[in-house]
Assembly symmetry: C2
Homo-oligomer: 364 residues x 2
Amino acid sequence: MYRTLHLDLGERSYPIHIGPQLLKQPELYQPHIRGRQVMLVSNETVAPLYLDTVKAALTGYRIAQVILPDGEGYKNLDILNRIFDALLEHRFNRNCCLVAVGGGVVGDMTGFAAASYQRGVDFIQVPTTLLAQVDSSVGGKTGVNHRLGKNMIGAFHQPRCVLADTDTLSTLDDRQLAAGLAEVIKYGLITDADFFTWLEDNIDRLCARETDALIYAIERSCRCKAEIVAADERESGKRALLNLGHTFGHAIETGMGYGNWLHGEGVAAGMAMAADLSARHGWISASDVERIRALLSRAQLPAAPPPEISRQQFLDLMAVDKKAVDGGLRLILLEAIGAARISADYDPRLLEDTLDNRLPLTGS
Amino acid sequence: MYRTLHLDLGERSYPIHIGPQLLKQPELYQPHIRGRQVMLVSNETVAPLYLDTVKAALTGYRIAQVILPDGEGYKNLDILNRIFDALLEHRFNRNCCLVAVGGGVVGDMTGFAAASYQRGVDFIQVPTTLLAQVDSSVGGKTGVNHRLGKNMIGAFHQPRCVLADTDTLSTLDDRQLAAGLAEVIKYGLITDADFFTWLEDNIDRLCARETDALIYAIERSCRCKAEIVAADERESGKRALLNLGHTFGHAIETGMGYGNWLHGEGVAAGMAMAADLSARHGWISASDVERIRALLSRAQLPAAPPPEISRQQFLDLMAVDKKAVDGGLRLILLEAIGAARISADYDPRLLEDTLDNRLPLTGS
């Protein structure tokens, strides 16, 4: 039993299948592979766990593979080139299909390789982390990092289909699971107060990896993201809300050195900071901030910025962030739990208080 | 006095301005620059000739520049990264505009950098070679080479406008001018017999760089290409006709080592080979082949393959060419001067004769 969410993007529409035992089902891949050539892309950690299962489901195709080193630090143009090397060494043509088996890094790099190889070929996403299942599955963002900033080089390129197999979450370590929950919590905060409440009631089931709870959370997260993305496919207005916690979070990830903080951990701390800054403006209450921090903590996530990063470091790191627009820095802040908004009208002095992690307002 | 060709591509429509003295006209750039940040991209040869003129036309903008080494051998991911370095070091945002001042290599790389930087920013093309003016101006193809094949990594990304300044052709050496004429002749061969005849009558004026003749040839070439591309923006059917001479030509370029044969020279020899193969099948006459070879020769272009490349080398090099489709190799051949067609039904033994450059059929 699995669920399918159909994303309606005109000629680039695609299904997201969510449930257990998906990797082994040939009929989920076949409709989306044009030719006979399939390039599996994975990393050293994930490949030994799942690649044989995927291969078994793809008998009859001419399969090649490229195994990348594992980690955000390898998400760059040099490592990307290994995928092009493999495609060209095997003389893969425009009808080939890339299959990304791994987390967000593998998905982003494979997607960008597919976007760029011969100016665009097909790819299928098999996300094996919770974060990738709820984040990379929707939106078509692909790319690599540059030493001066995250995700600075990339393309919009939609997969042909996504297989979010919940069984793959059983091999995630607790920290990776929590990082995925950060993005799940994000959807509740941005747009779906009921989902936030559901998460408060079910966070322990999610931490215990109960399949039913996972399927529900993944589907509802993908649906939230899809609704925002469908309204704004090429990121101008509403889509920016998805960056809640990300400007702070990227600064933390970069400031602490790529790979030391997980993306979801940065986003979690960033959401806590966004909530803190929103409360300092009086847009949400101190008790809202406490609910948010409490849920993050129960999900084993950081709920404050790391003390290692100074206010000035934050400001420098955020200036290059791609969400910065001419002149001022825009931030995603909260008007309520379940209602985020883009803000350029925050008070810079209050931002400094948040960056300094001064004692937050209490509900006095 | 200049002419403007308006390309109708929906929201990606753009003008191509053709004529003398264009570089210095601020009003040709301004409508197409969204923010204040402009990154000039050029190469070591072209920059000293024209960059000051372009800068003078862009006073008031925050201008930065990156100067690439000159040559097809530098059209790769490593050198591309220098453009990303410059963009990020100057903290350029999504509203920035890249301006490519140079030939096809600069245009292709700048266009791909613009396609990929923050998943897509604007760019303006200022092609300074005849080849780039008639080829890169239309079609939106951008990209870089891989050691295993030309243009294997790239994107479709349309410029905001093209400034084809005929004055820049005065500094081209004769060989570069001839390489551009190869593409001009190609349009006559593919689709426009009257233009081919016009070229037979005016080739000497073009070789003498008479401005009026150049404007006419550039505009008619761009129009031919635009009509084909408009019918088929994302290359499936008709657009492949533009590859007349290119499968052979790419093999020659690669086989002789990138940069030793100019792209246009490879295409010229490739068109002669396509004509030869077409005549061996009886699709065009031996006298058609002679007209084609004669026009190429008058334009100072090669009209036969280089003897250094063996038949087997040709076959190996062509197999990886991106025009190859599952199984068989498709070629663009001629049914008449002015009427090309995609062919998978050629006789492989006749292809071998063409690759061996056996004595062609005579008009007996």
